[in-house]
């Protein structure tokens, strides 16, 4: 089977491997300590750590896009830094 049409590149491969590793880690974590630490945060409904990971990833994607829209000429690493802060916030308060 020829996979060249998928046009893999190193950065995208790293990106997907990272996501995959996060999923595996989450699974092992959940298996060792089930329940996912449910709590009711600022969103007023119960979230588990899995939900928080999802909210973090999706939110980060939007932070990057909004950065691109507002400051197309400034390095995206700034957006990355904001996303990191956002992720910490999510894990603390959501």
């Amino acid at each position: 089977m020829n996979l060249s049409w998928m046009a893999w590149t190193l950065p995208t491969a790293i990106f997907f491997i990272t996501i995959f590793c996060i999923l595996v880690t989450m699974t092992i974590w959940e298996y060792k300590s089930p329940g996912g630490d449910p709590r009711v945060g600022v969103l007023r409904f119960e979230t588990t750590r899995g939900d928080r990971v999802f909210v973090s990833l999706l939110g980060s994607a939007f932070i990057h896009i909004i950065w691109l829209a507002l400051f197309p000429s400034i390095s995206l690493w700034c957006a990355f830094a904001i996303a990191l802060i956002y992720v910490c916030a999510v894990f603390k308060w959501v």
Partner: protein, 265 residues
């Protein structure tokens, strides 16, 4: 409210009139369509239908559609049954997130996936086969099937499962002998939905086929652009695509309302 029934009545008329118009057109000759404006055929003809029934490039489209829809329905129901049981009876690592991920695929726009699908199925040598379309439609039909079946299964008390296990039933035997007969209507409704979404979908079916597995709906679009103005045949082909759907509705009419609530009421 004595006039309450008028609301659904008007709505049904609104639904039926365009369909009637299509039927009306399919029974007219092209000459009549373009020359006289009439509410019913002045010069009743079945010639448009004869064109479809005699031309293999037309009727093979129906056969192709039927084949891939059937394959899809069978795959969807068979694979979804155990999965839906697992979701309705057990909790396991990542179950909620898995369920959500499955549902997002129901919501993924086919337009996003059309091109990669073409390349994916070409690369594994399935392009222009019925199985390719059937598999591609699983993308949104399987999650839907799991969702509906899970709803129906949650309505069966888990005490029935337990009684069976206490009685000595092994899981597979229980599932086939007791459980499946009890959700028969749920399976029927699921099959109906899978049929429906596979039958009405065009974009993926058209992308993944060229000649051998080309669905009727794709053939219709081609004919429109080629012959341009053959309204009669086009209408007849359209009418013929409505017939299987109407037949299927007739079979599930008693479960339709519950089915549309995805087993969740």
């Amino acid at each position: 409210m004595r006039w309450k029934w008028t609301i659904p009545a008007i709505y049904i008329i609104f639904i039926l009139v365009p369909i009637y118009w299509l039927v009306n057109m399919s029974l007219k000759t092209n000459a009549e369509i373009l020359s006289v404006f009439s509410l019913w055929p002045q010069d009743l003809t079945f010639a448009n239908y004869m064109v479809i029934f005699t031309d293999p490039s037309w009727y093979s489209g129906y056969i192709n559609s039927m084949i891939y829809v059937s394959i899809n329905v069978v795959i969807s129901v068979c694979f979804a049954l155990p999965a839906a049981y697992a979701f309705s009876r057990y909790t396991f690592v990542g179950d909620k997130h898995l369920f959500f991920w499955l549902l997002t695929n129901r919501m993924a726009p086919p337009a996003v996936f059309a091109l990669p699908f073409f390349q994916l199925y070409s690369s594994i040598g399935l392009f222009d086969t019925h199985i390719a379309v059937a598999l591609a439609h699983c993308l949104f039909n399987l999650p839907l099937a799991v969702w509906i079946l899970e709803g129906f299964m949650s309505g069966i008390p888990k005490e029935i499962d337990e009684t069976a296990f206490v009685d000595g039933y092994s899981w597979p035997r229980f599932f086939v002998k007791i459980f499946i007969p009890n959700i028969a209507s749920g399976i029927g409704v699921t099959a109906f939905f899978c049929f429906m979404f596979s039958w009405v979908e065009l974009l993926l079916a058209r992308t993944l086929t060229a000649v051998n597995a080309k669905p009727i709906s794709a053939i219709m679009t081609r004919t429109v652009s080629a012959s341009g103005l053959d309204w009669g045949v086009l209408s007849a082909a359209g009418v013929l695509t409505i017939v299987p759907g109407a037949l299927v509705i007739w079979f599930v009419r008693n479960h339709i309302a519950k089915g549309f609530a995805l087993g969740r009421v």
